[in-house]
């Protein structure tokens, strides 16, 4: 697969504040590439630079063969954006939102009409064609944002936290649609703080924190290399740590104390779990490792503000 977006030393500064601090990454054509990170990690700033609404401060950023900032109109024609905020035109109906947006891309009216019908069907909003935006639920608004992003038949879709505030049904529908687009060969660039979303959608991802990339890989590989296979959580008072660690640490590949919980990360949790059963402790959990563990291990389990 060829590379469609390539960044080297990509940097974004706002005055003295460095939002993105010299990052390198390559996004391959047709894959789903994720930017994961807590609030303020620099994910949104990075994707804003990719779709040319935020100028690059330093470094290089090549999108589909040309440098960002040279011919932004041409690059924006190839890109579809599902924004984080609901940026629908509340003065207009669903259909009017679409037809006005089609004009921004110079899509001829006849073609636009056919495309809108097709897209409203794709996101299951045909019945809402003439509704006003404030009559839509949050899930419907997000689906309309997806449909709107597809009007110009983009080769690259940037979805910036596309399922924030959605119930599970609505979230799964958006995921299905995004996967469907990927199967049609569209390159998907996703930012999210939902680990399940990243695991469901991303072929590869980077974990960002404070403007830097901490790790890069595929979801499964990252879990294996950072955590192992299993996690055992023990909620115990702090003073028992020494004894527990002395006993259990040899069976695990890492451990960590956060608040009221002691975490053990293991390649094979079976032996540790057995030892734990012998100890007969209450409040213990044995579960498979997830991307969330990787994320929390890398970015810290304490609150980031």
């Amino acid at each position: 697969m060829s590379t469609i977006v390539s960044a080297r030393g990509l940097t974004k500064k706002y005055g003295d504040f460095t939002a993105v601090d010299g990052i390198d990454f390559d996004i391959r054509e047709g894959e789903c590439f994720g930017f994961l990170g807590p609030n303020g990690a620099g994910k949104t700033t990075t994707v804003r630079m990719i779709h040319c609404v935020s100028p690059v401060t330093a470094g290089t950023l090549i999108v589909d063969g040309s440098a960002a900032g040279v011919d932004n109109r041409a690059l924006k024609k190839k890109t579809g954006v599902v924004p984080q905020e609901i940026t629908l035109d509340i003065d207009l109906t669903v259909y009017e939102n679409m037809i006005v947006f089609a004009r921004f891309f110079d899509i001829p009216k006849r073609e636009a009409k056919a495309r809108i019908a097709e897209l409203l069907k794709f996101v299951e909003l045909e019945a809402k064609r003439d509704s006003k935006i404030d009559q839509l639920s949050t899930g419907m608004k997000r689906r309309l944002l997806v449909a709107r992003a597809l009007l110009n038949k983009p080769r690259i879709i940037i979805a910036d936290e596309p399922t924030t505030g959605l119930d599970p049904q609505a979230r799964h529908l958006i995921w299905q649609r995004l996967r469907q687009l990927k199967s049609q060969g569209v390159t998907l660039i996703l930012t999210t703080q939902y680990m399940e979303e990243a695991a469901q959608l991303c072929d590869r991802l980077v974990v960002m924190h404070q403007g830097r990339i901490l790790k890069e890989g595929d979801p499964r590989g990252l879990i294996e290399s950072e955590i192992g296979k299993d996690v055992v959580e023990i909620r115990t008072p702090l003073d028992q740590d020494d004894a527990l660690v002395a006993r259990l640490a040899p069976l695990a590949c890492g451990h960590e104390r956060v608040g009221d919980t002691l975490y053990f990360y293991c390649r094979d949790g079976g032996a540790l779990w057995k030892a734990l059963v012998d100890l007969d402790l209450p409040n213990t959990v044995h579960r498979p490792a997830t991307l969330e563990d990787v994320f929390l291990k890398l970015t810290g389990r304490s609150l980031i503000e």
């Binding site: 109109r73 003065d91 006005v100």
Partner: protein
């Protein structure tokens, strides 16, 4: 500057959303100038006798006309644009498309000038019913061009204010300290000739003074050489404000 024909796409978007408010805005645009015409024109005009051989209303209408253009286009680019940026995030979705920030801002300025034209046109219609009409069809055509230019000038000036506005309250400074005083010191309701010298000088620095002078000349078909200065001010300030307004808004939008 990165301007293109896409200005029209932005204008079209505004037109599409406007059709829902058309009746209410017609009423709002009519009420205030209508009050001026009735109170000043008919009420006060009765005591004032003839102005340059004509009823007072012939003096008043071209002045009130152009100040309603000023009001409409100013408010559109203050409150209208601010809502589109901050509350509706409309500009965010615009600049994610091939529409540039400059296209988007210029489209809104064009729209505000159009709103000014509607307000002015409504005033003209009301005045015509009262028997106060421009001197000829050509005069009417010139008036429309004047309204358009004045609309672009005040819309662009308002854009400069909006580019720095942190909230709605900020606009009050501009409307109360700049726009409203201008209404009283620009010769809209009475000639500047009786003002003391220094006030006449101050009036020359108010863009509305020049807009009113042009509007009045066009309405009555009386063109004096001093008009050249008025035209130069409106054209010069209009172009300068347009360029500066676009630059400053771009700074606000593209970060």
């Amino acid at each position: 500057m990165n301007l293109s024909y896409r200005i029209y796409h932005v204008f079209f978007r505004n037109l599409m959303s406007y059709k829902r408010f058309v009746l209410t805005t017609f009423l709002v645009s009519l009420v205030q100038p209508l009050f001026y015409l009735i109170t000043f024109g008919i009420g006060m005009g009765a005591y004032m006798g003839a102005f340059g051989g004509r009823p007072y209303l012939f003096f008043l209408v071209p002045g009130v006309l152009i100040s309603s253009v000023m009001m409409s286009s100013t408010f559109e680019c203050l409150y209208g644009t601010f809502v589109k940026i901050v509350h509706e995030h409309l500009y965010d979705s615009l600049i994610a498309t091939p529409v540039s920030a400059e296209d988007a801002v210029a489209g809104d300025i064009a729209w505000a000038a159009f709103r000014g034209l509607i307000s002015g046109g409504l005033m003209l219609a009301v005045a015509a019913v009262m028997g106060i009409r421009p001197v000829s069809l050509l005069a009417l055509l010139v008036l429309f061009l004047v309204m358009l230019a004045v609309g672009v000038m005040f819309a662009s000036l308002a854009m400069i204010v909006t580019s720095k506005a942190p909230n709605f309250d900020f606009f009050t400074y501009y409307t109360e300290l700049v726009i409203t005083p201008m209404l009283f010191f620009s010769g809209v309701f009475f000639p500047l000739t009786n003002f003391p010298g220094w006030m006449k000088t101050v009036a020359q620095f108010l863009p509305l003074t020049h807009a009113v002078a042009i509007s009045r000349a066009a309405f009555l078909g009386e063109y004096a050489p001093s008009l050249l200065l008025n035209v130069a001010v409106v054209a010069g300030l209009g172009i300068a404000a347009f360029v500066v307004g676009l630059r400053m808004m771009k700074k606000r939008l593209i970060k």
